[in-house]
């Protein structure tokens, strides 16, 4: 299919010590160009590992097999130098904790410049202009260009991370729980911003979250992960309205609905095991 920008085939992630201990089990996932795909799951389900595999940022204690095709090129066959050229330029990533992802002793302007300079050579004036443009896009007043990360709020820091991530107009943006640490109102703003950027720049997004509410707001497609497996995937409408897999159903029952009508049902893992055979 031509409109798949990223194709993950039979990806396995396992520990070096014991290759039978699989953390990601033979998953396959296609990302459609210009769409947002959400990976949903509990902690330990392997959703972050999947994202890190694409970026090839896995811990050296882990190994992987399978293939990840990005625009027809298998990322797993690239040399370190080749993948570094794509990282940040073609594929960018934002993380959950904006405070730990920014350098506290450098101004935000400098850090955004740095992200651009890795991939592009620009004159000082052009560079500054570009940074100001980016700040505008993500909604930070340009006079904050010389601010340090600790002078910004959590939401603003995440906006800086987004500015860095989109600085080289990536084709794929991986967002690993980017709003989990934020207040609800700020979360809503950041989700809107990401969605607008996606539409404006035809960006593809891989969005990792454990919150089905967020999925409902932002996703086009959904993949549900459970213990290293993708147990269900499909369009957001089909997965949320008509879940097929018992785990998806159980996980949806845990989500507090905004009406408060249904009782929260914790997952009964033994019943789930039986249902899954």
């Amino acid at each position: 299919m031509k409109n798949n920008i990223l194709k993950i085939n039979n990806l396995n992630v396992f520990t070096n010590i014991n290759s039978r201990l699989k953390l990601v089990k033979n998953i396959s996932l296609n990302l459609k160009k210009g769409k947002t795909t959400c990976i949903v799951g509990e902690s330990g389900s392997g959703k972050s590992l999947t994202a890190l595999s694409i970026m090839q940022l896995l811990s050296s204690q882990l190994s992987m097999t399978g293939s990840i095709f990005f625009e027809g090129v298998n990322l797993l066959n690239l040399t370190k130098e080749e993948i570094r050229k794509r990282r940040g330029k073609d594929i960018a990533m934002i993380f959950q904790e904006p405070m730990t992802s920014l350098n506290p002793v450098l101004t935000i302007g400098y850090q955004i410049e740095e992200a651009i300079e890795v991939h592009e050579r620009l004159l000082k004036v052009e560079l500054k202009k570009r940074v100001e443009e980016l700040l505008n896009i993500v909604g930070i007043p340009t006079d904050r260009i010389n601010s340090y990360p600790d002078e910004l709020s959590g939401g603003q820091r995440q906006r800086v991370m987004i500015a860095m991530a989109i600085s080289c107009s990536p084709k794929l943006l991986i967002a690993d729980e980017p709003t989990t640490a934020l207040d609800v109102t700020v979360q809503a703003q950041i989700l809107k911003l990401l969605d607008n950027l996606k539409l404006k720049y035809q960006m593809t997004m891989l969005f990792i979250t454990h919150d089905f509410g967020v999925v409902n707001d932002i996703a086009d497609d959904v993949a549900v992960m459970f213990q290293g497996d993708i147990v269900e995937q499909g369009s957001v409408e089909s997965v949320l309205k008509n879940p097929k897999h018992p785990y998806t159903k159980a996980l949806l029952n845990c989500v507090p609905d905004s009406q408060g009508k249904n009782d929260l049902k914790p997952i009964d893992y033994s019943a789930l095991k039986k249902a899954m055979g």
Binding site: E42, T185, Q187, G213, A250, S258, L264
Partner: protein
């Protein structure tokens, strides 16, 4: 029907003053609590909702005097919390227990669970070692753990299990009021559902009153009878949960409700 108030707090104010910089003489002050009055009725769950920095945790801490107020009065079971001292304070504090947000940070990593559970009983001189053990065992089973867990250390448990231990520790003293400071915010949705259900069933069983602090309005809908909304140290709105959700009066509450994930207007 007028329900009995377990706690009445009037005009609570607290200001934090900080100097702008190391050499600076200018001082800025932040009103963490700005003339807040609340009543907590016996046997209900009152949720305090607000964003970070709204003063909701300061409010909770001030009720058990972990934060000393500048102004205001707190009457708990006909005792003035702000003036009582010594044994009286100790006895009252036994009656108000707290469950914290971070189950990783609120349990001493060097103590076995049995020690963590014994400590509050010893401090308040309740029972002898045999009756204490029986009591602890009963409580730990009630929150879904087993006897063998008592000889383990906190790091051997998952986040949800640790929060169960935190709940058991708070309830072992048989308090009437339990202050829950974001008890499920750090947990996965599936674990969150377990803990919310546990808190609800314990409330029924022991007739507890909860002051439930959270920023997650979806949880509020599931657990609270009444809600107060805070912003910048001020009380913005209060009322029955159902009414706040269906007919919010203030712009801020409406904004909060619109921000609930799953409520954003979809672009399609």
């Amino acid at each position: 029907m007028q329900m009995e108030n377990l706690l009445e707090a009037k005009n609570l104010s607290k200001e934090y003053v900080k100097t702008a910089g190391f050499f600076s003489r200018t001082r800025t002050s932040i009103k963490a609590l700005d003339n807040i009055s609340i009543n907590i009725k016996k046997g209900i769950t009152l949720a305090v909702v607000g964003e970070s920095g709204s003063g909701k945790s300061t409010l909770a801490k001030s009720l058990i005097r972990l934060v000393e107020l500048d102004k205001g009065s707190i009457i708990f079971k006909e005792k003035n919390m702000r003036t009582i001292k010594g044994d009286d304070l100790k006895r009252t504090r036994k009656n108000i227990q707290m469950i914290f947000q971070d189950p990783y940070a609120s349990l001493n990593p060097r103590m076995k669970i049995i020690k963590i559970m014994e400590e509050p009983l010893q401090i308040h001189g309740i029972g002898n070692s045999a009756t204490q053990y029986a009591k602890i065992l009963c409580m730990i089973k009630r929150v879904g753990l087993v006897e063998a867990d008592l000889s383990k250390y906190p790091h051997q448990f998952s986040g949800g299990q640790r929060q169960r231990i935190g709940i058991a520790r708070a309830l072992i003293l048989e308090p009437e009021l339990v202050i829950c400071d974001e008890p499920v915010s750090a947990l996965d949705v599936s674990v969150q559902a377990q803990i919310v259900q546990l808190l609800k069933s314990l409330q029924k069983e022991f007739g507890l009153t909860y002051l439930f602090i959270t920023h997650d309005l979806r949880i509020v809908r599931h657990i609270a009878n009444e809600v107060i909304v805070m912003k910048d140290g001020k009380l913005i709105e209060k009322g029955k949960t159902d009414i706040i959700f269906r007919k919010p009066k203030t712009k801020y509450t409406k904004e909060l409700l619109a921000s609930i994930p799953g409520n954003l207007s979809k672009r399609k």
